[in-house]
C-alpha cells in the first residue's frame, strides 16, 4: 500500500448485509494515513460489519472499498493481511488451542523472526512472558486480549483495525490495552477502533464517527461530537424518510 | 464337505460386509484346472473305454433322454409340454459378495446344454432361470420362484433359513448345492446330496493318519470362523474328534475378516502339533506361520473345506514345511482322466466358456443336477415334485455317476463314510492312495463304516 496518498482507506457508498437484511445503508468514509479513528455507536448499528468490510472479510453488496487509491472491493483477505492490514476481531483474536508462544510464532509470516516477535510482545505485556507455554484459551480475558494486541505490536502493520477491545474486561486492563493502542498510533500506524465505551476511546482518537442504524450520523473530532453522542444513540433521527 | 467351502465362509457374515475369494475370477488365470496326476493303477474306470452314450453320465444311466416319445403328463407349475423351468439360487449380483454362487450358473448352463442335447427330461427341455438372492433377499426370490418354477436345483444361498417356509408353502421342491441352516437341512420337499457335519461327522482323516501322526493328534489345534453356519460344523467336528483319540488343546474362533493371522497363529507355537486350519484361509495364514517360525507336524482338513485352487495358490505362496492332508468326498479332479464323470463335468463346464476356474466347488452343483434329472426322468407316470423328490430320496448310495462318494439321500443328516485323502504341496493337490487305502474295490475311496461318528448333539 502506498502512503503517498492522503487517504489510506476509503469506503464509497458501501452497502452490506447478511442474507436478506441490509445492515449498512450507504457508508461514505475516508481515513487519512496515520489517523486514529474511533467508530462509536449502539449495538447492532453495524460497527463490526463496517470493520469486516474494511478488512475484506465481508464483501459489500454495493459500493467500493478503496485502499491506497486502488479499488480493493472483493480482495482476498489473506492478501490484504499479508500487505499489512491487521484486524483484531471481536471476542479475543487468539487461537485457544495453541500456546502463547505458538500464537506468536504465527506472526512471523511477514518477515519478523520468532525472537523479535516475542521480544516485542513481552516488552509490551510482560505478563505474557510468564504464560509463554500456556494454552491461550486457558488465560484470562485480559491476557488473551493482550496476546491479541501483541499481533498488532509485533507485525508492524500499516492499518490496524480493532473491534471491541474492552469487551468484558476490567477497567485497569482496558486502560493498559488502550495505552498500547495509543503507542502504536504515535508510531504512525493508521488505526480504526470500534468501541462501545465512549470515554476510553475518545482519549486516544484523533477523530470519531458515530454509526447508528447503519449510517454515519456524526463525524468530527472527539471534543466536537462528544456532546451530541447521547442524543444520537438514544433518540435516532425522527424526521428522515422511509426509503423502502 | 462342501458346505464350508469358500463362498460359504465368505458369505456368512455376522457383522461385516463380505469379501469374496472364490472360484469366480475376474482374470483368466493361466492354470484354471487342477493338474492331473497319475495315481496308482487301482484307480477308476479306464478312460479309453467307449465314450458315454448321450444321457449317461459316468456310471449314472438314464439321466436325460427322449424317453419313449410320449409326453409324460404333468400339471405341475413350471412344466409345459416342451419345457421344465428350474430356478438356480445364487448371490452373484449382491453388493456384499459380488460373484458369490456364480459358478452355479455356469454349471446350470453346462448341464442343461448337455441334457437338452441328449433329449432333455423325457423329451422336455430344461430351462433354467437365475434366482439371485443377493445374500439378503432369499425369501423374496423364493416367492418369485413360487410363481413359475418347478423346482430349485443346483444352487444355494448362505442365509437360507428364511427360504424354508415360503418354499414349503408353495410346494416348491429343491435339490440345492448345499443347505446352510439346520432348518434348511431338514426341510421338506428336498433332496440333499451334499452334507455338513452336524449330527454325524466323518473322521476318516484321523483314522487313516493315526499311524503316522498319532502323537501329533494328542496336541491338536482347531481354528474356526465365528459365524454360526461355519461355526456349527466346526463344533460338531470338535465333538467328534475326541471320540477317535484326538486331543484338542486349542480351539480358536476367528472373525470373518482377519487382518492379521499372526494373532491366531502365535498361540499355536510350542503348544500344537496338528493344525486344523480355518475354512478357506488366505495366503496370510501360511505367511504368518512362516513369520513366527511355526512348523506343525501336520496340517489336516478332515472336512475338505479347503479343497480349492485358491488354497493351493495360497499354500504355494508361503509353503509351510509340514505335510498337509485333507479328506474329501469328491473324486479328485486331478485324476479326472480316470473317472469319466469327473472328466465330463469338467469338460462341459469349460465348454461354456466361463472364466471361472474349474474347481471342486462346482461338483456339488453337478451332483444336484444329475440327481434332479435322473429322478425326473424316472417319473414316467406323472411328473410332479413329489415324485421327483421321492425318487431322489430313495437312493441310499448316490454317487452322481462317480463324481462323489456314496451318500444316503433318504436321511439328510447322515454323513457318508467314504473319503479320499489328498495331500497338498507347492505343486498342488495329489491323491494319496497309500494313505487312503481304498476299500471299494478298484475305486479311490475308503469306505470303512468306522469313519462315521455319531454325535449326541
Amino acid at each position: 500500500m502506498t502512503t503517498t496518498e492522503t487517504a489510506l482507506i476509503e469506503l464509497h457508498q458501501v452497502r452490506a448485509g447478511y442474507d436478506e437484511v441490509e445492515v449498512l445503508h450507504g457508508i461514505d468514509l475516508s481515513i487519512p494515513v496515520g489517523q486514529v479513528l474511533a467508530v462509536l455507536g449502539p449495538n447492532g448499528a453495524g460497527k463490526s460489519t463496517l470493520l469486516r468490510v474494511l478488512a475484506g472479510l465481508h464483501p459489500p453488496t454495493s459500493g467500493d472499498l478503496v485502499i491506497g487509491g486502488n479499488v480493493m472491493t472483493g480482495a482476498d483477505p489473506t492478501a490484504l493481511a499479508l500487505r499489512g492490514l491487521c484486524l483484531i476481531p471481536e471476542g479475543r483474536g487468539v487461537f485457544p488451542n495453541l500456546t502463547v508462544a505458538e500464537n506468536l510464532w504465527l506472526l512471523t509470516n511477514r518477515g519478523a523472526t520468532r525472537r523479535d516477535v516475542e521480544q516485542a510482545a513481552f516488552h509490551a505485556f510482560p505478563v505474557l512472558r510468564e504464560r509463554r507455554n500456556q494454552l491461550a484459551g486457558s488465560m484470562s480475558g485480559g491476557e488473551q486480549q493482550m496476546l491479541a494486541m501483541a499481533r498488532a505490536i509485533a507485525t508492524d502493520p500499516a492499518l490496524l483495525l480493532v473491534d471491541e477491545l474492552s469487551m468484558g474486561l476490567a477497567p485497569r486492563v482496558v486502560s493498559q490495552l488502550f495505552e498500547s493502542v495509543a503507542r502504536i498510533g504515535e508510531s504512525g500506524v493508521t488505526i480504526v477502533v470500534v468501541e462501545q465505551f465512549v470515554q476510553t476511546v475518545l482519549g486516544v482518537a484523533d477523530r470519531a464517527v458515530a454509526v447508528v442504524g447503519g449510517r454515519i450520523v456524526l463525524d468530527g473530532s472527539p471534543t466536537e461530537i462528544a456532546p451530541e453522542l447521547h442524543s444520537a444513540y438514544f433518540a435516532g433521527n425522527p424526521d428522515q424518510e422511509d426509503d423502502r | 464337505m462342501r458346505q464350508t467351502r469358500i463362498p460359504m465362509r465368505r458369505a456368512l457374515v455376522a457383522a461385516l460386509p463380505l469379501l469374496l475369494i472364490t472360484a469366480a475370477c475376474g482374470h483368466e488365470s493361466p492354470d484354471t484346472t487342477p493338474k492331473s496326476t497319475n495315481g496308482s493303477s487301482e484307480q477308476g474306470t479306464d478312460t479309453n473305454a467307449q465314450p458315454a452314450a448321450p444321457g449317461e453320465f459316468g456310471t449314472l444311466k438314464g439321466v436325460c433322454g427322449r424317453g419313449d416319445g410320449k409326453t409324460v403328463p404333468s400339471d405341475a407349475r413350471g412344466v409345459t409340454d416342451d419345457e421344465i423351468q428350474v430356478g438356480v439360487l445364487n448371490d452373484a449380483t449382491s453388493t456384499l459378495a459380488p460373484g458369490l454362487g456364480a459358478e452355479y450358473l455356469a454349471v446350470a448352463k453346462a448341464f442343461t446344454e448337455w441334457c437338452n442335447a441328449a433329449g432333455g427330461i423325457n423329451g422336455r427341455k430344461i430351462k433354467f432361470v437365475t434366482r439371485d438372492a443377493k445374500v439378503t433377499e432369499a425369501a423374496a426370490r423364493i416367492v418369485d420362484a413360487c410363481q413359475s418354477d418347478f423346482m430349485l436345483v443346483g444352487g444355494a444361498t448362505p442365509f437360507d433359513a428364511p427360504t424354508v417356509e415360503p418354499r414349503e408353502e408353495c410346494d416348491l421342491g429343491a435339490i440345492p448345492a448345499y443347505a446352510a441352516s439346520p432348518e434348511a437341512t431338514t426341510s421338506k420337499l428336498q433332496a440333499l446330496p451334499t452334507r455338513v457335519p452336524a449330527k454325524q461327522a466323518n473322521v476318516a482323516a484321523i483314522r487313516l493318519l493315526e499311524n503316522e501322526f498319532g502323537d501329533a493328534f494328542e496336541r491338536t489345534g482347531m481354528l474356526a470362523v465365528d459365524v454360526s453356519s461355519l461355526l456349527d460344523p466346526a463344533l460338531a467336528v470338535r465333538e467328534a474328534l475326541p471320540k477317535v483319540g484326538v486331543d484338542i488343546v486349542s480351539f480358536q474362533k476367528l472373525p470373518l475378516e482377519v487382518a492379521s493371522y499372526r494373532t491366531y497363529v502365535q498361540p499355536l507355537v510350542g503348544k500344537v502339533d496338528a493344525v486344523i486350519p480355518p475354512p478357506a484361509p488366505d495366503a496370510g495364514f501360511f505367511r504368518a506361520m512362516n513369520d513366527v517360525d511355526y512348523t506343525p507336524k501336520v496340517l489336516l482338513d478332515p472336512v475338505g473345506n479347503t479343497y480349492s485352487q485358491d488354497l493351493a495358490k495360497a499354500f504355494a505362496d508361503a509353503p509351510v514345511d509340514a505335510p498337509y492332508y485333507l479328506a474329501s468326498e469328491i473324486f479328485p479332479l486331478e485324476m479326472a482322466d480316470q473317472n469319466p464323470a469327473t472328466k465330463l463335468a469338467m469338460d462341459l463346464t469349460k465348454k461354456t466358456g466361463t472364466k471361472l476356474p474349474i474347481d471342486a466347488g462346482m461338483i456339488p452343483a453337478w451332483a444336484s443336477w444329475l440327481l434332479f434329472a435322473r429322478s425326473a426322468s424316472e417319473c414316467t407316470d406323472k411328473l410332479t415334485v413329489d415324485c421327483v423328490i421321492e425318487k431322489a430320496t430313495s437312493d441310499h448310495a448316490y454317487t452322481a455317476g462317480g463324481l462323489i462318494a456314496p451318500v444316503d439321500l433318504s436321511d439328510p443328516t447322515s454323513i457318508g463314510a467314504c473319503r479320499v485323502i489328498l495331500s497338498l504341496t507347492a505343486d498342488g493337490f495329489t491323491y494319496e492312495p497309500k494313505i487312503t487305502k481304498p476299500t471299494d474295490g478298484d475305486g479311490v475311496f475308503n469306505c470303512d463304516d468306522a469313519n462315521v461318528v455319531r454325535l449326541d448333539g
Binding site: V21, T78 | I248
Partner: protein, 742 residues
Amino acid sequence: MNEFIGFTVSGLVSAGLYAIVACGLTLTYTTTGIFNWAHGALVAVGAFSYWQFAVDWGLPTPLAAAICLLLVGPLMGVTLEAVIMHRLEGTSEATRMVVTLALLLGVLAGMNWIWPPSQQRLVPRIAGGHVLTVLGQRVPYSDILVIATGLLVAVGLRTLLYRTRAGVEMRATVDDRTLATLNGASPSRTAMRSWAIGSTLAVLAGILIAPRGALSATTLALLIVNAYAAAVIGRLRSLPMTFVGAVILGLATGYAQGYVGSRQDITGYQYLVGLVNVLPVVVLFVALQFLPQSRLRGARVLRVKEVSSRPTWPGTLVLAVSVVIVAVAVAPLLSPGDLNSVTKVWGLAIVALSLVPLVGYGGRLSVCPLSFAAIGAVVVSHLGGSGNPVVIIWAVLIAAACGAVLSLTVIRLSGLYLSLATAAFAVMLDNWILTLPKFTAVIRVPFTDVTLYRHEITIFEGGSLDVRRPSFFGVHTTGDHAFFIYGAVVFALVTLVVAAVRRSDFGLRLIALKDSPVGYATLGLNGRLTSMAVFAFSAGLAGLGGAVYGAAIQRPSPNVFSFFSGLSILLAVVILGVNSIGAAAAAGVFVGGPALTNLFPGLAQLSSTLIGTAGIGLGDNPNGAVPAEMRPRWRPVPRAPVVLVGGLAAVVITYFLTLAGVLGNWTFATVLVVVLLAMPPVARYVAEIPAPRPVRDAEADGLSGPPELLGLTLPVTSADLDRVSREISVPRPRPTGGSHGT
C-alpha cells in the same frame, strides 16, 4: 516365559500397524477438524495401488512404492480436500460423519468395481521374509520395519505439528479459520497440505499392511475401526500417546488371544472368546469413559444454521394417512417377490424415525439404531410364540431400558466421542453378544442351593430368530399383503407419536438442550435426565422398528442388524433430513425397498455410489434434502389448488387403469414421476398469475411467515418491518439524509 515373549512380539507387530493407521487419522483430525471415517478406505486404496504397480504391472518394488507415496497419496488427499472436505467447513459433527461415511461407501464401491474381489491378490513380502532373532523369537524384518515406521511416524508428526511453523499453522487453521486468514495463512492451502499428508500416511499404512495376506478392500477399510481405540487413547491430539495407545491395543489383543482366546480350559471360555475378538472396540469404549471431558475444539460457529421446524398436526396427519393410502394402493401392483421384499420397508422406516428425536431434535449423535432394533427383534422372537401382539410392548420397553442403561455410560460424551462410543457398542453387540452360545441364566438364593429361576438362553438360536407375524383380534398379518399394510399403519402411528413429542414440552427441552447445554442448566433443568430420556425413547422406537422388521423377514440372522447396515440408515436419514419426519419415511423406503437394485440390477454398486455422492452434497445442505430442497420447491403447490387436484386426478386415474391391467407398472411409475416433477413448476406458474389481491390486506394481518424463519429462509418484507415496529412501539429506523439536525 517363551510364550509370553512370543505374544509380546506378536502384539507389538500389530501395534505398529495400528500406530501408523491411528496416527494418520489423528493427524487429519488435528489439522482439519474432520474425523475421517473413510480413512481405512484410503489405506485400502494404498494397498491396492501398490499391488497394481508392483505386481500387476510388474514395476520394481521401490519404484512402485515411490509412485504410491509420492503421487497417489498426495493426489488423493488434494482431490479429497478440493472436492469434498472444503465443503465441510462450519458444519456439524453429524454432517461430517455422514459425509465421510458416504465417502467410505463410495470408495469401497469404486474399489470393488476396479478390482473385483473374486480374485486373490498377493503382494510380495517386504525384505523377502528375512528374519532377525530377538530373545529367541524370530521377527521378520518386515515386521520390524512396521514397528519402526510406526514409531517414526508418531515422532515425525509430533515434530511437524509442534515444532514447525507449518504445523502450528495447520492447527491454528482448525482452531479459527477466519483468524488464520487474518494472520496471513491461506486456509485452503493449509487444508490441502493436511489432507495430502494424511492421505500419504494412509497409503504408507496400506503398503505396509498389504503383505499380511490376500488383499481385501473391506477388511482394510474396517481395520481402522480397531485403530480408533489407539487414536482415542491419544485424545485425538497427542501422537506419542496415540503410539502408546497402539501398543496397548496390540499387546492386549495378543495376550487376550494367546491366554484366553485359544484356551479351552478357562471357565466361561466360550463366552469370552467372542469378547476377545471385539477387544479393540471394548478398549475404545473403556478409553472413552476415562477421557477427560475436554473440549474437542474451540467454539465452532455453524455456517448454516440447522433448523428444526415444528411439525404441524394437519401436516403430520396428512403424512400418516397418505402413507397408509399409498401402501394400500401400491400393494396390489407389486409382484409377489417384490411384495415380499418390500415388507421390510416399514420396520426400517420406524428405525429411521427413531433417529429423528435422538440425532435430530436432541443432537445426540448415536450410531447404533439397529442394535436396539436387534434387541426388539430378539425379545419378540423369544416371547412371542404365537404372534401375540402384546410382546411388541415388551420389545419396546426392554429396548428402551437398554437405551437408558447405555445412555448412562455415555452421559458425559457428545459429538464425535458419542458416535465412537455408540459405534463401539454396536460392534460389541454384533460380534459378541448376539453370537453368544447358549447359556443358562440362573437365579439362586444366596448361600443356599435353592434355585429360583433357571432359563436356558440362546440369543440367536441356531443362527436365526423365529419372529412370528402378529395377529390382532383374529386378523392375521402372516401374508405379505396384510403385513405390508400392518407395517404402514404402525409406521403412521409412530409418526404421530414423534410429532406429538416434538410439539410437547419434552420436544422443546430437547431442542433447547441441543442449542445450549449451559443455558439449559441455568434454567434449572437436568440435562442428563433429559438425555437419558431421549435415549430411552429413541431406543424404544428402534426396538419397535426391530420387532416389525424382524417379523417382515421372519427368520432374521444377526447380520441383518449389523452395524454397517445401521450406518446406511443413518446416512439416508441425515442426507434426507434428520429433523424431518417425512425424511425418515423416505429414508426407510430408500434403504429397505427393492426399488433401486431392481431398477438397475446390473449396477449393484450404483446405490452405494449414489448414497456416497448424495452424502457429499450434504455439506451445502446440512438440513437435509427434504427440508432444504423439496419443501421449498413444493410450497407453491397448495396455493394453486387447480394444479394439486389435477395432478392427483391424473395419478389416481392412471392407478386404476394400472390396477385393471390396462397399463403396465412401468407406465404408472413414469406417469407418477412426471406428474411429481411437473407439479411444482406448474403450480408456481399458475400461482403467479396475478389474482387481484389487496397487498395491504394480506400483509396487514400478520407476518408473512413464522417469525423465527424471517430473514433466515424467508425474505423480510417491508410489511413485516412495519408490523414489528408497531408491535414494539419503536419507529422504524430512518436513513441519514446526509444532514443532521432535528
